[in-house]
Symmetry: C2
Subunit: 113 residues, 2 copies
């Protein structure tokens, strides 16, 4: 298996999929991205990135059922794979380790509960 890395945008989208759970379909992910970052993003960019993440084996997807809402095509729901989760953990552990070594950051812990 190729040494697959995660770009910044990719990592954020992956995490958003994890956060959104059942609601992780591309439109929603794009909305969530904008609301959490205040950065604009085009739906196409999200789409192609989610595709890439799926190719890399970090995400899986399947079509959801049509909902009872007004109009609309069926949603493609994404879920994180074991490999995706591992990639996120590795990335987190590595960052936390670096932060702890950087004097300007090294308060010893980060609380985020």
């Amino acid at each position: 298996m190729k040494e697959t890395k995660l770009g910044e945008f990719e990592e954020v989208l992956l995490l958003l999929v994890g956060i959104l759970g059942e609601e992780a379909y591309s439109f929603k992910v794009a909305e969530e991205f904008e609301s959490q970052t205040k950065r604009e993003v085009s739906i196409g960019a999200v789409h192609s990135t989610l595709n890439r993440l799926e190719e890399k084996g970090f995400l899986e997807s399947e079509m959801g059922q049509a909902t009872a809402e007004r109009g609309g095509r069926r949603k493609r729901i994404y879920t994180i794979t074991a490999s995706g989760q591992r990639a996120l953990e590795t990335s987190r552990d590595f960052r936390v380790s670096l932060w702890s070594q950087f004097p300007a950051f090294a308060t010893g812990k980060v609380n985020f509960g």
Copy 2:
């Protein structure tokens, strides 16, 4: 000012400069990168990335004095600018915030002291 983002590799190098302090010159940064990641890196890649970070205003540098050691050209010592530090903080805060929302990660805190 342009909306300057930080790539994955760039962010790691920036942090390594912070960690290395007085010892933050490109050769050392490359060494440190390899020892902390177990990933190989070419000195040229480090060099061009440090350059880019300097152009973006996240790093500053100046030539150090010649040391009493065997041989060698003078070192260019890098330091993080205020803007670089802010970028790191922003990135950290954002990540911590996302992790806390991701059920699989949300233990509430990360200890790294």
